[in-house]
Symmetry: C2
Subunit: 142 residues, 2 copies
DNA sequence: CATTTAGTTTAGAACTATTATAAATTAGTT
DNA sequence: AACTAATTTATAATAGTTCTAAACTAAATG
């Protein structure tokens, strides 16, 4: 409720009408202390459980993609069967815990700067992303 | 044809029966000078176009996954709508050309070693992968 | 070498995530 | 208040992948 007017201008500034549904999604995604990771499914469940109103799946897809296109969300690809989104839009890398299927942000003191010595000729680098997969120490002890 | 016996022992050694279909897939994937990237769809088309016999899609999925599990292939996740596989199973990173949707291997002189200073407690690193997305220089000039 | 059995292949159904569609609704404008 | 264009919605459609159960085949056994 608090930051509602912020969300309204955020949406207006990027040419998106501040509809009831989009504001609700903003509230769920951005009215928090910490950033987090989610799948479309997570978000849909979250909304339908914690609020009376239902937002259609199509709208959730549309909105998440619109937010991604406007730079309010980052998409992270870990596995081909699901898309993860991140409300942390700063440049950063990830740990992926294969035991729990949980994504964890890396801070700069965890992964040093990636040194790209040679880029493809005529191309511009649009992003550099490191994914560190981790698993329980005693994984392969069978 | 040449390396057929190698494939037979490769398969036997990992507990997979050397069937006609698996040997054909081995031939297509591994009887080459250079490693390459492919999707299941690519592979299925390749087989049906270049050979008389057809291998069922289910078998292609089964075999590719078996090969992946045995460490003969690496899976690379770039986008959530498709799985890419790599016959280069050495540790290496990738460029992804967003204009052409093509994956390109990085050699060690293109990306320096990634320095992971802090790992998650109690976990072992199972892989470290860097994906450098690149796009045409004049991408955003509209 | 015939028989058995366990693994493999297959076509097609089923499933899951995502996108498209077209009608109903809503926001913002005139 | 009426109009226009954007948005939402339920549902259908699509694409990639996995499941299923019957048919087939490789290897093991007698």
């Amino acid at each position: 409720m608090l930051k509602n007017s912020e969300f309204v201008s955020k949406l207006r500034n990027s040419g998106l009408r501040p509809t009831k549904q989009r504001l609700k999604i903003c509230e769920v995604l951005f009215n928090r202390d910490k950033t987090f990771h989610f799948t479309i499914n997570d978000l849909a469940k979250n909304i339908s459980k914690n609020f009376n109103e239902k937002i259609s799946l199509a709208t959730i897809y549309n909105t998440v993609h619109a937010f991604k296109d406007k730079g309010y969300l980052k998409e992270i690809t870990i596995s081909s069967d699901k898309s993860y989104f991140d409300t942390n839009i700063t440049k950063h890398h990830h740990f992926y815990d294969e035991d729990t299927n949980l994504l964890i942000d890396c801070n700069d003191n965890e992964i040093g700067k990636v040194n790209i010595k040679n880029n493809i000729t005529g191309k511009k680098i649009s992003s550099v992303e490191v994914l560190v997969r981790v698993a329980s120490d005693n994984q392969n002890q069978n």
